[in-house]
């Protein structure tokens, strides 16, 4: 729960900034009044979804690959919330949503690749040390 709250606060901060930026651009360009209370509720909902996805992604339980896929699928509904909040002012055509789906997928794949490489050097070093340290057969009752 503590971890979830941390993720939630971080994402809420970032989502709020992004929402404010989008709202500012829309208000300036389209000269419309946006329902800011609804926008804030949307931002909170998106932050909850993202925090939940991050918790699943970082979870120690379950298979890492399954967690990664679940986290990706969990992120997707947040796009519908953005669409519900800004409507046609942001998503002029429906296909734009699908393009964003794909773009997020690509970014996610790159992030995964970076994350898996992050530890590789340390893992290699530790395996090397392990080999050096025991250069011997291991038995269950070593």
């Amino acid at each position: 729960m503590k971890q979830f709250s941390k993720y939630f606060l971080k994402t809420l901060f970032i989502v709020n900034i992004i929402y404010m930026l989008i709202a500012w651009i829309i208000v300036r360009r389209a000269e419309v009044n946006l329902p800011f209370l609804r926008l804030e509720l949307g931002a909170i909902l998106i932050s909850l979804i993202l925090a939940f996805a991050m918790s699943i992604y970082r979870s120690e339980k379950g298979h890492p690959i399954i967690n990664v896929i679940i986290a990706y699928l969990l992120v997707m509904p947040s796009l519908f919330i953005i669409r519900a909040n800004f409507g046609r002012l942001l998503f002029r055509s429906a296909w734009l949503l699908y393009i964003i789906f794909i773009v997020i997928g690509i970014i996610y794949a790159i992030a995964l690749w970076v994350a898996s490489k992050k530890y590789q050097k340390e893992v290699d070093d530790l395996n090397q040390l392990l080999k050096k340290e025991d250069g011997k057969e291991k038995t269950p009752e070593d």
Binding site: Y57, P64, Q120, V123, N127, L129, E133, D134, K138, E141
Partner: protein, 148 residues
Amino acid sequence: MKITIDEKNKQKEIEVVIKGSKDDQRVQTIYQTLLYYEQSIVGKLDDRYHQIPLNHIYYFDTTDNRTFAYTSQHVYEVNYRLYQLEEKLEHDPFLRVNKHSILNLRKIKHFHSTMNGRMDAKLINGERIQISRRYVPDLKEKLGGVKS
């Protein structure tokens, strides 16, 4: 250093005699290494108390404020908190590797990184224990590397 293995007397119990100064660092290291095979810890299984040799323990883990010792066959409940075990096993090949586990380094088969940016240690019994990033420098040092 002179190492001799005497197989003449077919005695059951292994006898080790270290000849050297007690203050010698190498003597102390050899002594500590040998102690690993001699020491044991008391664990409870089915309401009975057992002596568990340290070299039979794969790892210690805490769940709901209770500490358990995992061997290849059984799971024993031990009457220590994780920090107490950490202190007690300071000179043995045991190391805290995450918030809730102390791992026997002699039971590690290899390390590997997972897709979600975490690190695991695969044990010789096939189990996987997660390694937290904050314990990696200590792990390196304990395995004879440089703490970074």
